[in-house]
Symmetry: C2
Subunit: 152 residues, 2 copies
């Protein structure tokens, strides 16, 4: 079962509601992980998340990080962004606009872009197919100005 998130003011409240609504318990481990996930505003992976939790002395085992991250994805507070270097990368999305990633196939640089037109397309497709849209992600692959020149 999944929470409609747009009623809540912040991620912690939304997550609490999601847990309770689904008969799960609010634990310090889950709250610590959530907090750390929302403290990081860039893409992150599980190893990095675990490191940051350790550094800050927050408790939670590797297993709990994986388990909680799955809940955060299920509740649409977090989304998988891309799979790279043998593991998944994530970002928190609660309260953020749909946005787009431009990735260079040459140098692997990634730019995040907010685009009005993209939001419209997503909304339009949601309407057309009668979907209740929770999140969307667009990835564009190509060559950045630099790599484009090198490649002549």
């Amino acid at each position: 079962m999944i929470l409609r998130i747009y009623r809540y003011k912040n991620g912690l409240e939304a997550f609490r509601e999601f847990l309770i609504h689904n008969g799960m318990r609010v634990t310090p481990e889950r709250e610590a992980i959530l907090e750390e996930v929302f403290a990081e505003h860039e893409h992150f992976d599980v190893e990095g998340l675990i490191m940051r939790l350790r550094q800050k002395g927050k408790r939670s085992s590797r297993a709990s990080v994986y388990r909680t991250l799955a809940l955060l994805v299920e509740s649409s507070l977090v989304q998988e962004v891309f799979y790279k270097d043998g593991h998944m990368h994530y970002e928190h999305i609660y309260g953020h606009e749909h946005h787009c990633h431009l990735r260079c196939l040459g140098c692997n640089k990634t730019i995040a872009i907010l685009d009005e037109a993209l939001a419209d397309v997503i909304e339009g497709l949601g309407m057309e197919y009668n979907f209740e849209v929770i999140s969307g992600r667009l990835e564009i692959f190509g060559f950045c100005p630099n790599c484009r020149d090198k490649n002549q």
Copy 2:
């Protein structure tokens, strides 16, 4: 190094050019894998690809399938679509329009959609950021009409 694919008539020719241009060899294994990848017009994963190659008596080891698939992704004939059930899923994209996937968070059903407006957004962002666009993918997550009703 990456090939500009739009000059070529078909995937096989484009792949040959990519290989030769990068000092690699055209082998029956690589051609068999390419052929099978382009014979499948739905999303596929590595296990399925290996099975279909075996069934058709085409040679190529598991290792070669992984290695060749990496080359096909590098040459932008194929793209990673999503990571699910513990492994990556792919689709061939050479000669196809940019398209969109609508995925239901309730029942996991995925619909592929061609959308004019999406192509425009991708092209527009390419122009704006001076990117040479090779491919793009949009994934929209939400609830399909069915699951939307069930969720009240």
